[in-house]
């Protein structure tokens, strides 16, 4: 496979021997454009994915009433840990 590289003919003046190359060619411009587009889409996706998770969890926690201000006597509030709180504070 490496015989494909003409080492005997090559010198130090060989530059940009990459896929879709050489540099500053249509292939590299297109690849760069696609890369930038994917990068920007990834940012949007990071935001959307996390936003959905956080809002769902927030809604679930609110619906559970676990974080509501208690009324009446001492109550036990279930969260990630068991919290015993006193409403007299």
């Amino acid at each position: 496979m490496f015989d494909a590289f003409p080492y005997d003919e090559w010198g130090e003046d060989i530059a940009g021997f990459w896929t879709f190359g050489p540099g500053s060619s249509t292939g590299t411009y297109i690849l760069t454009g696609i890369g930038v587009a994917v990068m920007l889409i990834a940012f949007v996706w990071f935001v959307r994915l996390e936003n959905g998770k956080l809002l769902r969890q927030q809604a679930a926690l609110r619906a559970s009433g676990a974080l509501d201000r208690p009324r009446g006597a001492a109550v036990v509030v279930e969260t990630t840990t068991t919290i015993i709180t006193d409403t007299e504070r």
């Binding site: 060989i14 540099g23 990834a42 940012f43 956080l54 509030v77």
Partner: protein, 499 residues
Amino acid sequence: MITSLVPAWLAQAPTPDELKTQIDLSANILLEQFYFWTVVVMWLIHVGFMAYEGGASRRKNLMSTAMKNILTIAVVTPTFYYVGWYIYGCFEPGFPTVGPDSQDGHAGPVQFPGFCGQTAPWADEMGPNLQNHLNAVFFLAFLLFSWTTGSIMSGALIERVRLSAYLILTAILGSFVWILDAAWGWSAGGWLTIRFGFHDAIASGVVHGVAGLFALGVLLNLGPRIGKYTKEGMARSFRGHNTHLTLMGLMLIFTGFYGFYAACLFITPTVFPGWLNIYGSPTTLGAIAFVITVGFAGGFTGGWFASKGDPFWTLSGGLAGVISVSAGADVYHPSLAYLLSISGAIVAVWAGNFIEKRLRIDDAVGAVAVHGVCGFYGVFLVGIFAGGYPTGLANVESSMGGQLMGIMAFIPLAFLPGYFFSWILKKLNLLRVPPEVELEGLDLAEFGMDFYPEFERVPEVIVEPDGREVDSAPVLLDSYWETNGRAPAGAGVGAEERS
């Protein structure tokens, strides 16, 4: 016999031109390897930041904290590749200009004709290239510096910032803000270097100071963690879930710093003096390694005494000490570095307490004090102790005026983008996690699990301003109710509530 061999041997001997070609190739490969290994060592900085911040977080926020450090690499790498490196190559005069100085269709400083054109993502020098072994590894070293700026900020924001908001902000800091100031003041052709002799050899200001002030701008919009301050404005302390992990992380950061320091130098293996700082002025690898080591020693000492033996501030003091002497590490006498690093650690402890208790800004790991304050303190010290040393290819003398010019340029360049972009995210309600999620812990919302399943859950502890350790749950719930279910106000207890 021998006499007959000599002519044959001479006939096979390389000519001086061939020998020069071989030496140049060997020198280039040596350079390539050198920068490659600095990159490997600098990875430890990010391992360290992840461990440090993970240990400083509460158990319920472990993975969300670590994931910030991991995904820093995912977002800063492409943004720096597509944009950041080009900024470094092309913005040295301030902003690119089109005119007689322009090279290869791009603007570029006269000192390095063509470098600008080599930094575009489609340039020949960014891929396999037998003519140029160095651009790609230079790029990688700078990329690792960029990750570091992001990691500096990440610790300050833990336990309430949205992961996605952090990723956007760290891309802005790592691929736009810091690299623009590096082009201006951390390059041989930068306008601050050429016109004012600005001297910040190992990046006290351009990396640490700028990242710290960017973080400060973000913190003002982000606000403190729920329960951080009492109704009277007194600061409580959260207990990190694993101090051992934090201390080990700091030690890994220190190890990685040696790679960082080494990567800040140029090698000229076939030309005297062999080593140059980033401005092209002479120094040696041994000299800067000496200063960093003495800087740690002085920093630990200063941090220990200033904090009265607090473990966290003792180690952070080591970091602060090194950052305080980095700007002049290429020329400082080791004894001077020892003394200055002690003072830097003392400044960091004082600034950290001032920021937390007086300004009421919740910087979870003291990043603004250690990196921001000590970064600019280090730049300032060069004006006092290294004034007169020639800086850069134009041999402009470093001076207090030049250092102040750099500080005046970098402070707004760092703070304003941090404040502005975090303000936009805040207005879009994308900066901070919902308060209910913050109370429960980010890991359950983000990942749906606890990351210490084999350990029993114990009540979380919080330290009251008077030093009492109490169960944090009632305290946090009380703070949550006080703010009517909204996240606490921004900087200062009396500040207007977030909407």
